[in-house]
C-alpha cells in the first residue's frame, strides 16, 4: 500500500475526529454528548496499543498472562466505585484538575510534592506515549512496505508528522478554557468514539481470524494443540508465575486510579456521580469483550505466520498475508484510535500538571501577577500548549532513542511500576490523617530510585559500557544487589521484582517517616478535609484554617488579574451572599482566602493559587495543636448543632403532642358543656310546661274539660321528667362502667320473643307486622334486661319510623365465628345519609320522624351503644341499606 494513501487515510480520519470534537463542543448539553456511556467509553482509554497489539504478542509467547492487567481493574471496580465517589467529591470540592494537584493538596498544598508527582507522571507516561508512537510507526511500516524500510531521519519519518498532528489536535481542543477543571466535551466525545472503533475493529478481526481463516475456535484449538510449546501457552505455570500474576494484578489495580489519563477521565471529566453505577458493570464488560479473541489471534499467528515477525502485530499481519487490504486498514485504524485516545488524554492531563505544578509555580508566577486578565488567560493557555508539544516531542525522542529493543508490553509494565509509586501517598492519604508531605516525598523519591535501579540500570549500563556485568553480578559485585533479582529473589520477572521492592521501600519509608515526624498545621488541615470530607462537605470554606492579615481589596485585585473584573465581582457577590457578609468588609478571613484559592486553582493549580494568595496576605503561623483544636471545635460545633437540631425537633414534637392533648381536652370540655346544655334544655322543657300549667290552673273560670287536659299534661310531663332523669343516670352509669351487669349464657331467641311481646300492643294498634322466626337455640353471653332494653329500643324506633298499615319489621339471628349477630330491619323511611354519623350520639333526634313532635329523650341509641360496648359487642346501622333502616348488633357467643 502506498505511503501517501495511508497518510491520506490518517488525515481523513483525524479530520473526522475534528468534526466530532467540534460537534460535541457546540452541543454540550445534548444527550449525545452528556450521558453515562460517554463516561464509560472514555474510561476505556485504558485500552491502548498495548492492549490492541501487545496482548496478542504476550499471548503468543507466554500464554494467558496478558490477562493479569485487565483482572486488576475488574477486581478494583466495586472498590473503585466507593473510592471514586470520595475522590470525585473531594476533587469537585477543592477544584482539583490533576492527580498532582490532588496529592499536593492533600499534603498541605505542597509545591515540591506537586512537582515530584508531576515528574513521576512524566517518567511513567512519556515512555508510555513513546510506546504508542512505536506502535504507530511500526504498523505504518508494516502497512506500507513489506521489505523493512527504516527511516533515515526525523524529517523523513511519518511518525513525527503524525505526532505533530496529534499535538495540534490536543492543543486545539484541550486548552479552550484557561480553567483546567472545565469539562472538555470535544475531546471526550472523540475518545468515546475511538473506544467504540477500537473495540469493534478488534472484534471484527477476531471473528475474521476465528471464523474465516479457521473453522471456529475448535479447529483453531486442534491445530495449535499439536504445536510443541502449547503446554506453556495455556497454563499458569507454578507458584513463581503465580507471584508474577499477583503483582501484575496489583499493578493494574493501582494504575486504574493513578494513571494521569485515568484520573483525568474518571475524576476531572466526571459530570455526575451516578455515572459510576453504569461504569461498574459496563467497563469490565468492555475489557472482557476486548480480550475474548486475543488468545485465538495469538494461536492463529503462531500457526500461520513465520516465527521471525513481530508477534505484537499478528492481528495486522494475518489479513495482510491473505491480501485483505481493506481489513488491514481497518485494523490499523483501530490501533491508531487506541493510540490516539491514549496520547490525547495523557498529554492533556500531563500538560495541565506540567503547567500548574511545575512551570507556573516555579517560573511564571511573577509574570502572571503583573499581567492583566486577558494576557494571563492567554499566557496560561500558551504555557499549556507549549507543554503539549514538548511532551509529544519528548515522547518521540524517547521512542527514537530507547524503544527499539523493548516490546510494547514491557514498556507498559515499566510505566505501571513507576506510576504505582504514587500509590502509598495517594491511598493512605485518603484514609490516614498522619501521612505527611515529607514522608510522601521521601517515599516517592526512594520508590522511584529503586524502580529505576531495578528496571533501567541494566539497559543504561550496557548502553554506556557494553559488556558490563551489572545485571549478572550485581552492584559492586555484590550478588544480592543484582537489579532484576534484588535480594536473591530469582523467580520473579524483572517487572514484578521492581514493583515488589520499589513499592515496599516506598511504603515502608512513607509510614515510618509519617509516624516519626509531625506535619505542619496546613498538612493536618488538608488531611482532615480529605479523610473526613463528609464532615466538611457542608462547611466548605469553613473547614479551612487560616490566621493572618489580608485585605479584601488586595484579594480582589489578584482575582481580577486572572478571572477578569466581571467574574471576580460575580464570585465575590456569591461569596458574600453565601456567608452573609456585608460587601464593605475590609479584612479577609480564612473563608475568603480558601474561596479565592479554589477560584484560582482551576486556572493555575492549587500550588500557584496558594503562592499567589500568600503574596497578598500576611499569614501568621499556627501551631499544630491549635489547628487540631480548631478542627475539633469545628467538628464539635457541628455535632452540637446536630444535637441542638435533634433536641429542637424533639421539643417541637412534644409541643405538638401537648397541643393535640390540649385540643382533645378542649374538645372533651366542649362536649361536656354541650351535654350539660342539652340536659338542661331537656329538663327545663317539662318543668316549664308543668309550671305554666299549674299557673293557668289558678284561673277558677277555666272550663272543666280544659282543666282536666292541663292536669293530664302535668302528669305526662312529670313522667317524662322521671324517664329523662332515669336515662341520664343510666347512661352515666353505663359509660362509667358502674352498671352491674348480670352476664351469663342466655338464649337469644327467648329474649327477642320477650322484646316483641313487650311492644306487640303498640304494633297491633298501628297495624305494623313484626316478623321473627326463631331458629336453632343460640346462646350468647349477656345481661337479659339490658339486651331486652336494646331490642325494645330498636323495635320502638322502627315503629316510630314505619307507616301505619304498611310497616313490616323483621328480626333475624346469624352466627359469625365467635359472635352472634342480631339484625332488625324495617321498611320505614330509613336513615338519611348525613345522619348516620350522629344517630348514636346522646340527645340526637332524627329530623325524619313520622310523628310531628319527636318523642323520646334522644338517649335511646346512645344507651344502646353503651350497653353493647359494655358487653364487648357492637351496634351499628347498615348505611348501604336503602329500603328502610337496618340495625345490627353483635354479642359474644356462649362457649
Amino acid at each position: 500500500m502506498s505511503n501517501y494513501l495511508l497518510i491520506l487515510i490518517i488525515v481523513a480520519y483525524l479530520l473526522l475526529l475534528f468534526a466530532i470534537a467540534f460537534f460535541a463542543e457546540r452541543n454540550k448539553g445534548s444527550k449525545w454528548v452528556k450521558n453515562p456511556y460517554i463516561y464509560v467509553l472514555s474510561l476505556s482509554v485504558y485500552c491502548t496499543a498495548w492492549t490492541y497489539y501487545g496482548s496478542v504478542g504476550i499471548a503468543s509467547e507466554s500464554g494467558i498472562s496478558f490477562l493479569a492487567i485487565y483482572l486488576g481493574p475488574v477486581i478494583a471496580l466495586p472498590l473503585w466505585m466507593v473510592l471514586m465517589r470520595k475522590i470525585i467529591r473531594i476533587s469537585r470540592q477543592q477544584k482539583i484538575s490533576s492527580i498532582a494537584d490532588f496529592i499536593a493538596l492533600r499534603y498541605g498544598n505542597n509545591r515540591s510534592l506537586g512537582a515530584l508527582v508531576t515528574i513521576t507522571c512524566l517518567m511513567s507516561v512519556i515512555p508510555y506515549i513513546a510506546l504508542q508512537l512505536k506502535a504507530v510507526s511500526e504498523t505504518f511500516e508494516l502497512m506500507t512496505l513489506k521489505n523493512g524500510y527504516v527511516s533515515k531521519g526525523i524529517l523523513d519519518d511519518s511518525t513525527f508528522y503524525i505526532s505533530l498532528l496529534i499535538a495540534v489536535f490536543v492543543a486545539f481542543f484541550g486548552t479552550r478554557s484557561s480553567d483546567a477543571t472545565r469539562h472538555k466535551k470535544g475531546i471526550l466525545a472523540t475518545v468515546a468514539m475511538e473506544s467504540v472503533l477500537k473495540l469493534v475493529f478488534f472484534l471484527v478481526i477476531g471473528c475474521y481470524v476465528v471464523f474465516y481463516l479457521f473453522d471456529g475456535t475448535g479447529d483453531l484449538y486442534r491445530q495449535v494443540s499439536q504445536s510443541e510449546n502449547f503446554q506453556r501457552l495455556s497454563s499458569f505455570g507454578g507458584i513463581e508465575e503465580g507471584f508474577n500474576w499477583l503483582f501484575a494484578i496489583c499493578l493494574s489495580f493501582v494504575a486504574i486510579f493513578l494513571l494521569p489519563r485515568q484520573f483525568h477521565v474518571a475524576v476531572v471529566e466526571n459530570e455526575d456521580e451516578k455515572y459510576l453505577k453504569k461504569a461498574v458493570w459496563l467497563f469490565p464488560l468492555y475489557l472482557l469483550l476486548f480480550n475474548i479473541f486475543v488468545i485465538f489471534i495469538a494461536w492463529a499467528g503462531n500457526i500461520r505466520l513465520p516465527p521471525n515477525v513481530n508477534h505484537d502485530y499478528y492481528s495486522l499481519l494475518l489479513p495482510l498475508q491473505e491480501g485483505h487490504v481493506a481489513l488491514t486498514v481497518m485494523v490499523f485504524l483501530g490501533g491508531f484510535s487506541a493510540v490516539l485516545s491514549m496520547i490525547v488524554v495523557s498529554t492533556l492531563a500531563l500538560s495541565t500538571m506540567v503547567s500548574n505544578s511545575i512551570i507556573i509555580p516555579y517560573g511564571f508566577i511573577k509574570t502572571l501577577v503583573s499581567g492583566n486578565p486577558e494576557e494571563n488567560a492567554k499566557r496560561i493557555k500558551t504555557i499549556r500548549r507549549m507543554a503539549i508539544f514538548i511532551l509529544i516531542v519528548a515522547a518521540y525522542i524517547f521512542y527514537i532513542k530507547f524503544s527499539v529493543q523493548l516490546s510494547l508490553y514491557a514498556i507498559g509494565l515499566i510505566s505501571f511500576v513507576i506510576i504505582s509509586q504514587l500509590g502509598p501517598s495517594f491511598f493512605f492519604g485518603l484514609f490516614w490523617r498522619r501521612g505527611t508531605a515529607l514522608a510522601a516525598q521521601i517515599g516517592i523519591g526512594l520508590g522511584l530510585l529503586v524502580a529505576i535501579y531495578t528496571l533501567f540500570s541494566p539497559a543504561i549500563a550496557s548502553a554506556i559500557n557494553p559488556g558490563t556485568t551489572l545485571d549478572s553480578d550485581g552492584l559492586f559485585g555484590m550478588s544480592w544487589l543484582r537489579p532484576s533479582q534484588l535480594f536473591g529473589l530469582d523467580y520473579l520477572s524483572p517487572v514484578s521484582n521492581a514493583f515488589l521492592w520499589s513499592i515496599s521501600s516506598n511504603l515502608f519509608v512513607f509510614v515510618t517517616v509519617s509516624v516519626s515526624s509531625k506535619g505542619n498545621y496546613r498538612e493536618r488541615n488538608y488531611a482532615e478535609m480529605f479523610v473526613n470530607y463528609e464532615n466538611y462537605e457542608n462547611l466548605q470554606e469553613g473547614a479551612f484554617i487560616w490566621k493572618g492579615e489580608a485585605y479584601v481589596t488586595d484579594i480582589k485585585g489578584l482575582l481580577n488579574r486572572f478571572l477578569g473584573e466581571q467574574r471576580t465581582n460575580r464570585a465575590m457577590e456569591i461569596f458574600n451572599r453565601k456567608y452573609n457578609i456585608a460587601p464593605n468588609v475590609e479584612t479577609a478571613d480564612a473563608r475568603l482566602i480558601n474561596f479565592s484559592e479554589k477560584l484560582l486553582t482551576g486556572s493555575l493549580g492549587s500550588t500557584s493559587a496558594k503562592i499567589l494568595l500568600s503574596s497578598v496576605s500576611k499569614e501568621k503561623p499556627i501551631s499544630l495543636v491549635a489547628v487540631l483544636n480548631i478542627l475539633e471545635e469545628t467538628k464539635e460545633a457541628k455535632a452540637n448543632n446536630k444535637l441542638l437540631r435533634d433536641k429542637s425537633d424533639e421539643l417541637s414534637a412534644m409541643a405538638e403532642q401537648l397541643r393535640m392533648a390540649n385540643a382533645e381536652l378542649l374538645d372533651l370540655d366542649k362536649q361536656k358543656d354541650e351535654f350539660l346544655d342539652t340536659v338542661a334544655h331537656e329538663l327545663k322543657t317539662p318543668i316549664t310546661s308543668i309550671k305554666a300549667a299549674s299557673e293557668v290552673l289558678e284561673d277558677e273560670e277555666m272550663p272543666k274539660e280544659l282543666r282536666k287536659q292541663f292536669l293530664e299534661n302535668i302528669g305526662r310531663d312529670t313522667e317524662r321528667l322521671a324517664i329523662l332523669i332515669h336515662n341520664i343516670l343510666d347512661l352515666e352509669k353505663l359509660s362509667g362502667n358502674r352498671a352491674a351487669l348480670h352476664i351469663a349464657p342466655r338464649e337469644i331467641n327467648t329474649t327477642i320473643r320477650n322484646a316483641i311481646l313487650g311492644i306487640q300492643q303498640i304494633a297491633m294498634k298501628r297495624n305494623v307486622v313484626i316478623n321473627f322466626i326463631a331458629g336453632d337455640s343460640v346462646k350468647a353471653m349477656y345481661d337479659e334486661d339490658r339486651i331486652l332494653q336494646v331490642l325494645t329500643n330498636l323495635l320502638s324506633n322502627s315503629l316510630k319510623f314505619t307507616e301505619e298499615q304498611r310497616g313490616v319489621i323483621s328480626i333475624s339471628v346469624d352466627e359469625h365465628g365467635d359472635n352472634i349477630c342480631v339484625t332488625v330491619v324495617d321498611n320505614g323511611r330509613g336513615i338519611p345519609n348525613e345522619e348516620h354519623k350522629y344517630i348514636f350520639d346522646k340527645f340526637y333526634q332524627s329530623k325524619n320522624q313520622n310523628i310531628k313532635k319527636p318523642q323520646g329523650s334522644g338517649f335511646g341509641l346512645a344507651i344502646c351503644r353503651q350497653i353493647m360496648e359494655s358487653h364487648n359487642g357492637a351496634i351499628w346501622a347498615d348505611d348501604t341499606y336503602s329500603k328502610g333502616a337496618r340495625f345490627l348488633f353483635t354479642l359474644p357467643k356462649a362457649i
Binding site: D677, A680, H681, K684, T685, P686, I687, T688, S689, K691, A692, A693, E695, V696, D699, M702, L706, Q709, F710, N713, R716, D717, Q845, K847, K852, K853, P854
Partner: protein, 122 residues
C-alpha cells in the same frame, strides 16, 4: 280597636297550651307555630303585634327565624321576645344583639310573660 295579635312559636305543645290560654284570657288573638318556617308563614299573613320565639327548635332555630323576620319589610317593627331554656348570659346577649326586644328564660312565670308583653305593645 282591633284585637292585639300574638304569635307563639314553640315545639312543645304543652307549653304553648298554657300560654295560649293565658293570652286568650287577656283578649289577644293568638296564633301558634311549631317551628321557624311555620312562624314566618303565619307572621307574614297576620302581621302580629308581638312574637314569642323559642330558640331550640327543629328545622329552623329561633335565631334564624328572627333574622328572616327582620329582613322582611312589613315585619321589621314587630316586637320579638325570646322565650328559651338557654339561660347563659352569652346567649342572652346574642339574642338581644340580633335585634330581639326581650329575652325571657324557661321555666318562666306565665303571669310575668303576659305582663311584660302587655307593657311592650302598650
Amino acid at each position: 280597636m282591633s284585637k292585639r295579635k300574638i304569635l307563639i312559636v314553640d315545639d312543645e305543645p304543652n307549653i304553648v297550651m298554657s300560654l295560649e290560654y293565658a293570652f286568650k284570657k287577656k283578649e289577644f288573638e293568638v296564633f301558634v307555630a311549631r317551628d321557624g318556617t311555620e312562624a314566618l308563614d303565619i307572621a307574614e299573613k297576620q302581621v302580629p303585634d308581638i312574637i314569642l320565639l323559642d330558640i331550640m327548635m327543629p328545622q329552623m332555630d329561633g335565631y334564624e327565624t328572627l333574622r328572616l323576620l327582620r329582613e322582611t319589610e312589613k315585619l321589621k317593627r314587630v316586637k320579638v321576645v325570646f322565650l328559651t331554656a338557654k339561660s347563659k348570659v352569652s346567649d342572652m346577649e346574642k339574642g338581644l344583639q340580633m335585634g330581639a326586644d326581650g329575652y325571657m328564660t324557661k321555666p318562666f312565670s306565665v303571669k310575668k310573660v303576659v305582663k311584660e308583653v302587655e307593657e311592650m305593645i302598650h
